[in-house]
């Protein structure tokens, strides 16, 4: 037979699982408001992403990232008012000498023209006589190389027998062609102007200033198995709240693509400590001095008792100072570039203020000098990390940059006698400006 407590549970389960209670109308309003806000946030996010992509595309276009690298001949063309055409094909009669009108030349021979030259058609081409070789040339595969072609001949090629009214198609030389030079990629001149020439004057020095959001990632290891419930209680009572970084840095480029950097970085992170004691009892005691048998005696009298929950919220703050040494490789193209850096730094956890749960289950301050438990080290030793920097030259000597970074403190930031070992990693984004020093 089923024990009575199981029957009790079963009956309760049956009754309660069927239960329905209409919720207050404010709940749906709240749900709807939150969903609307999320939709709006998503729309804004997509707009920001779209704008960033457009902005990136625009900057890339200005920097000439979407064009192939200019060849020497192309760069020559860019500075000349008219493009220099390769010698004409020998299969084409010299139109000037023959006194023929201008001819359309959207020909396969376009391949032998400079990349930055275009040919435009004129209607007169339709009335010109066609020569056999010219027709052949129209459908022939494009010549591979101008230099491979024979030198121009002044002799007219034989004409194709046919009706006298058939137009003669002739190629013509440069002066008769209506050619327009294609504009060089917009911004390429500017990019050349904007990009500082590294390595021209020996070592180059840069100074950077930056700030940005970051995230502190803590890894905990329980050194004492008996402290499992304490570790779980600490996890329950602490939650990350926010973090940021700021710093200044000096870079030296002994080689145009290699940088050595050092400086000072400050990382601050905040944790929220929340503690609730549901069995909180407060006694109100009045102590009075009474004269008993000729002697003053302190008499305690409990005048009231409060039962309730004790709630405590503290924002714990940690400040880590880093002195990094970085080695970076940098690549530039026009006004933009990227650098990849590896770093090692010396750290000082010089600022720590707040409250955590102590092993006895009660909140205790860990702020140095506050009389609580000393939990964290000050000299936390070395950390290693890396970063990737993308930058854009606003001017030849001024850059804007964004640099995601990560660094991990090698030693635990907690003291060795503390039962839970805490290791700290920090990831974030440095957004800042760089200035190239010197003349």
């Amino acid at each position: 037979m089923m024990p009575p407590e199981h029957r009790f549970d079963l009956l309760l389960r049956r009754r309660l699982q069927r239960a329905e209670v209409p919720p207050p109308p404010a709940v749906w309003e709240g749900v709807e408001r939150q969903l609307r806000r999320r939709r709006r946030r998503r729309t804004v996010l997509w707009c920001v992403v779209g704008l960033l992509l457009m902005g990136g595309g625009w900057l890339g276009q200005r920097a000439g990232l979407f064009y192939p690298a200019p060849s020497p001949s192309a760069s020559e063309n860019a500075v000349q008012p008219f493009p220099v055409l390769p010698p004409p094909s020998p299969r084409f009669a010299d139109e000037k000498e023959e006194g023929q009108p201008a001819v359309s030349s959207s020909l396969p021979t376009g391949a032998i023209l400079s990349r930055k030259s275009t040919l435009t058609a004129t209607p007169a081409a339709r009335t010109s006589p066609v020569e056999a070789s010219d027709l052949l040339a129209l459908f022939a595969p494009p010549a591979a190389d101008v230099s491979a072609l024979p030198l121009p001949s002044t002799e007219p090629l034989p004409t194709l027998p046919g009706p006298s009214s058939m137009p003669v198609l002739q190629a013509h030389r440069e002066p008769q062609l209506s050619l327009t030079a294609q504009k060089p990629p917009k911004g390429s001149a500017k990019n050349t102007r904007k990009c500082y020439r590294f390595g021209e004057k020996g070592s180059t020095w840069l100074i950077h200033a930056y700030a940005g959001p970051s995230k502190a990632l803590a890894r905990w290891r329980n050194l004492d198995v008996e402290m499992d419930s304490y570790a779980a209680a600490r996890r329950r009572t602490e939650a990350p709240e926010g973090a940021f970084n700021a710093g200044v840095r000096l870079s030296c480029f002994p080689h145009p693509n290699i940088a050595v950097r050092t400086g000072l970085q400050y990382d601050q992170w905040i944790e929220r400590f929340e503690y609730t004691n549901p069995d909180f009892i407060r006694y109100h005691v009045v102590i009075t001095q009474k004269l008993i048998n000729g002697q003053w005696v302190s008499v305690a009298d409990t005048v009231g008792v409060e039962y309730g929950a004790e709630y405590l919220r503290v924002y714990n703050r940690f400040g880590l100072l880093n002195i990094p040494v970085q080695i970076g490789l940098e690549w530039r193209k026009g006004a933009v570039g990227i650098s990849v850096n590896a770093e090692a730094s010396v750290n000082l956890l010089f600022h720590k203020r707040g409250t955590i749960l102590d092993a006895d289950g009660k909140p205790t301050a860990f702020t140095p000098g506050a009389g609580g438990r000393v939990v964290y080290r000050t000299r936390t030793g070395l950390s290693i990390g890396g970063s990737v920097q993308g930058f854009y030259h606003l001017a030849p000597r001024t850059r804007l940059f964004a640099e995601p970074y990560f660094h991990s403190v090698l030693r635990p930031i907690t003291l060795p006698d503390y039962p839970i070992e805490q290791r700290q990693c920090i990831a974030g984004l440095r957004i800042g400006i760089s200035q190239i020093l010197g003349q």
Binding site: F8, L16, E20, V21, W28, V31, E32, R38, P278, G361
Partner: protein
């Protein structure tokens, strides 16, 4: 509109379908929240947070098994997270032996669902969570211990205490009906 069409409508972002889906399950889920929360206002907060999660994570529902069960799981997890955020308790380790309380289970039939809910929601914090998860949802003590971050023995003792507490309350309500505690 059937359940699947409603879910697909919600996935398309239809506000009407979201409203209909909410109306279909809000009553049952609010009753669940009332069992776990300390106050009706806390229950309303849990319900709101839970339904936002339901709508934002709806694409993870595989159309296998009961949708109501899926929603219920989300609501219970939200309630547990809220409870874990708010609570701190001093756990006593070890198995605490309590006298078993023989009782007349049919006493439950004398109470309405609203009264039962009120009774369960008045259970002390730790007891309430364990009682709901073990006695009502049917989880094992091992599962509950993992969910709440407590020891299995604590879960057992809290269930016993919860039953005992409920019996005492029922006896107070219906002294004439046989709820015998020896």
């Amino acid at each position: 509109m059937n359940e699947e069409a409603l879910i697909r409508g919600c996935l398309r972002g239809s506000a009407r379908c979201q409203r209909l889906l909410y109306e279909r399950y809000a009553g049952k889920m609010y009753a669940v929240c009332l069992r776990y929360a300390r106050t009706p206002s806390d229950a309303a907060d849990i319900l709101q947070e839970g339904f936002i999660k339901v709508f934002t994570k709806l694409d993870q529902f595989q159309f296998q098994g009961s949708f109501e069960g899926w929603v219920r799981r989300i609501i219970i997890n939200t309630a547990l997270r809220t409870y874990q955020r708010q609570r701190f308790e001093y756990e006593s380790s070890g198995w605490e032996r309590l006298p078993e309380a023989p009782m007349e289970p049919d006493i439950i039939n004398h109470l309405s669902e609203a009264e039962l809910l009120r009774l369960v929601s008045r259970l002390p914090e730790g007891y309430r969570m364990v009682f709901n998860l073990v006695a009502i949802e049917g989880h094992s003590h091992a599962e509950v211990a993992e969910m709440l971050g407590i020891q299995e023995s604590t879960s057992r003792s809290q269930l016993t205490k919860a039953r005992r507490w409920l019996c005492e309350q029922l006896q107070r309500l219906y002294p004439d009906v046989a709820v015998s505690i020896e």
